[in-house]
């Protein structure tokens, strides 16, 4: 039967099921459009994971290449095969087949930016010498054309021994089909005897290989890199592999090739001379058309306009966070409360009802509401990055950042930490000077991350009047002020670190500045969706789990005695609320909260706020979820929003808990405190020890506590 059924499948659908032909790695300099091209080629069929043992993102996906499928991986951007950071080291190790988790790719797609072809050719020479089937995608050809830049691809391909060179526009997908066809034939081209670009280097490597002990397991390319990159991890590892006599040969050959000059400098000279030679006479550059766009770009690239633009855009974003997001948030809020009410009427009153309505819906829901605001913030950061503005501001701010003991490159992590400190701390790897890097790592957690936003938005929304001054909302301005407080905290901290640590080491800063370009809609959307996925996953796992635990702590133990006491009340609803509050006070959470209350009473916090703040130490946005659950359990009137409930909370003697000094103190506490287990973990990994994360935690928590104490005591 099964055999007969198969004959019914039309032939055409069989041929459209292509087979996997091999792997292809995308390699290219940073900002060459490599990731955009990867997204275009793989579409949504991609997975993001980490390389085991290191927190470097590994992006992989299937791509359709003419009639076959290829497994593609997007390697971290590199300028050359001499790595300067962990990310670049990964690229080198994968290309040489030195990572157990990622097999050496069967083919390479070199992604080179036509407007920086000299830099691209420098890398291409090293890639060609790896002897892996290779294809070149020449990107940014639209920008090249606007500049009046044209390259004779056919002639260049011929000079390089027949390597296919396909001009594409990664952002619009222009010429992508031709690239797919060429990729489909990547293994078919008979490997023509491509000449090695640097015969002397290959001969030297061969001489070393001849003396190596286990020469079968070592590739000639590995020895070449070890010859050139003397102090690299690769050279150190390889010297242990090849045996004593080969190491002696290696040192001998290195001296013969480079004499006393630094080998890397010699390679740079040789490589750029080679690149110039290949391009000789093939580039046609005439004055491109100058249109209004160029003039605007040239204007905003200047120091003062660029800085002004940054602050104007940032100010507008905080306005947008409140103005645009409100309708969306109201929608989500209504949906969540009606879901809660509907479930409540559906289920019989009691344990399960309370768990779902007061625990899960109220807890997770109170964090989910902030999704629109977080999306606006992420959109802003992604656009800044994608437009090349972030790299430009690293250049503009270098002097100012150095005065604070950081580097211009610290700007990139600091801006990234408006989203989240964890990737921000990882991105400090580009900072070459250890002291500047440490100062940046310790400053980063002060910057207001997206997890602080729900707390700020909740408290500002509840306690700052929604009035307007000169057309700007007061709430937006208070939020902007809190962000400024974070920036000041970061600056002062970096300054202190710098004063405490000894100077003396030479600092360096060298980077390639990309031009401004309009962000690509597709790239921005994909990155934004990625961020939303991460946020929802967190809400679905960590926050879900914590709310269930907090609900249980707030619900148990149930005391029957409380239900029958205090019958003197007349109003039934009042009575029920009273009962719920008594139950809550008697619960495990209530008792624990009462226990820690004395420590936080000088700050004006009652036991509920204290308990929520403590629950927020693993991840600060949990505080909002916990408040949501506590107040839902302690209040039988479920139509109230969390913000309404907060404004009505009183001390036993009738005074409001959330008065102005207390709210301001709480906001400042959240601005300064390090309440994030993930940040602490990444700090430990990136600084190789517990010392700095512990110092940072004690320092930031102490600063938050005493600032809140001072504010409350002075102003109440």
């Amino acid at each position: 039967m099964a055999g007969r059924q198969q004959t019914h499948i039309p032939i055409s659908s069989i041929t459209t099921l292509p087979k996997l032909a091999g792997t292809v790695a995308l390699v290219g300099p940073p900002n060459s459009g490599k990731s955009t091209l990867f997204n275009q080629l793989t579409g949504l069929r991609q997975k993001t994971a980490n390389y085991p043992g290191v927190t470097v993102e590994k992006k992989a996906g299937r791509l359709r290449a003419d009639k076959v499928l290829l497994e593609a991986i997007d390697l971290p951007g590199i300028y050359s095969l001499s790595p300067d950071s962990i990310d670049e080291q990964i690229t080198l190790d994968v290309l040489l087949g030195r990572r157990a988790d990622t097999p050496r790719p069967d083919s390479l797609l070199a992604v080179l930016d036509v407007t920086r072809i000299q830099q691209g050719m420098y890398l291409l020479r090293q890639l060609l010498d790896l002897n892996i089937p290779l294809l070149v995608a020449l990107t940014m050809t639209d920008a090249g054309q606007r500049r009046g830049l044209r390259i004779d691809c056919e002639a260049l391909s011929e000079r390089l021994g027949g390597v296919p060179i396909i001009p594409v526009v990664a952002t619009t997908g222009e010429n992508l089909e031709q690239l797919r066809i060429a990729l489909g034939a990547i293994f078919d081209t008979v490997e023509s005897k491509r000449e090695h670009s640097w015969p002397a280097l290959r001969d030297a490597a061969q001489a070393v290989l001849n003396k190596a002990e286990n020469s079968k397991q070592i590739d000639l390319s590995e020895i070449e890199r070890a010859l050139v990159d003397q102090q690299s991890i690769l050279a150190t590892e390889l010297q242990q592999q090849i045996g004593e006599s080969a190491v002696r040969e290696l040192i001998l050959q290195r001296r013969k090739l480079f004499d006393s000059a630094p080998a890397l400098a010699q390679e740079a000279r040789y490589g750029h001379a080679w690149a110039g030679q290949q391009l000789q006479g093939l580039i046609d550059e005439h004055q491109g058309l100058s249109h209004i766009g160029h003039k605007i770009i040239a204007f905003i690239q200047q120091p003062v306009p660029a800085m002004l633009l940054f602050f104007v855009v940032m100010f507008l974003v905080f306005q947008a966070v409140f103005a645009w997001a409100t309708p969306l948030m109201d929608g989500i809020d209504t949906a969540i409360s009606s879901l809660g009410l509907w479930v409540q009427t559906l289920l019989p009153p009691g344990l399960i009802n309370s768990l779902i309505v007061d625990g899960i819906i109220a807890g997770v829901g109170s964090v989910l509401i902030f999704l629109p605001q977080i999306m606006i913030l992420f959109l802003f950061i992604i656009v800044l990055e994608d437009s090349g503005y972030l790299a430009r501001s690293a250049f503009l701010m270098d002097r100012a950042m150095r005065a604070l003991g950081m580097s211009g490159q610290s700007v990139i992590p600091l801006v990234a930490s408006f989203a989240c400190a964890v990737p921000a701390i990882m991105s400090t790897r580009v900072i070459a000077t250890p002291r500047e890097r440490l100062a940046t790592i310790l400053a980063t957690p002060f910057i207001t991350c997206s997890a602080r936003l729900p707390i700020y938005a909740l408290l500002i929304g509840a306690f700052v009047p929604a009035t307007r001054y000169v057309g700007f909302s007061l709430q937006g301005m208070v939020l902007f002020g809190l962000y400024l407080l974070g920036i000041v905290g970061a600056g002062v901290t970096a300054l202190i670190v710098n004063k405490l640590l000894s100077k003396g080491e030479r600092s360096g800063f060298a980077m390639s500045l990309p031009d401004f370009r309009l962000p690509n809609f597709r790239t921005v959307t994909m990155q934004l969706l990625d961020r939303v996925r991460v946020f929802l996953r967190r809400a679905g796992r960590v926050i879900f789990a914590v709310t269930v635990i907090v609900w249980a702590l707030a619900y148990f133990p149930r005391s029957e005695a409380i239900d029958t006491t205090g019958l003197s009340g007349v109003d039934i609803e009042e009575l029920e609320n009273q009962q719920a509050a008594n139950q809550l006070e008697n619960s495990f959470l209530g008792r624990a909260g009462k226990f820690v209350e004395p420590a936080f009473k000088p700050l004006g916090w009652d036991w509920k706020v204290s308990a929520a703040v403590i629950a927020g130490f693993p991840a600060r946005e949990i505080m909002v979820a916990v408040l949501g659950t506590i107040y839902a359990v302690g209040d039988d009137a479920d139509e109230h929003t969390l913000a309404q409930r907060l404004t009505e909370t009183t001390w036993p003697d009738g005074r409001l808990v959330f008065n102005l000094p207390m709210v301001v103190g709480l906001l400042v506490f959240y601005a300064l405190c390090l309440q994030c287990a993930s940040t602490i973990a990444v700090m430990r990994r990136e600084t190789n020890g517990w010392r700095w994360p512990i110092i940072a935690w004690v320092y930031m928590t102490g600063l938050g506590y005493f600032s809140a104490l001072l504010i409350f005591q002075l102003f109440s």
Binding site: R269, G408, A432, G508, A510, L513
Partner: protein
Amino acid sequence: MTLADLRTGECAVITQIDTNDQTVLRLMVLGMVEGVTVQQGKAALGGDPLEVHVSGCSLSIRCEQARRFSVKP
């Protein structure tokens, strides 16, 4: 004369490089080698770092490193 002495818009050829600096080596990989023509761009706020145009791309170079590149206009 070094790269740090060039004025905005001025062009020069790199004649000699003091390679005793890790950042200088990185700049050489990015295209700052002997014989190449560079053009000085606008400096950042406070006059440091400098923006240098070299074979179609812009590089950010601190004065400290720029002084290690000897140039001839």
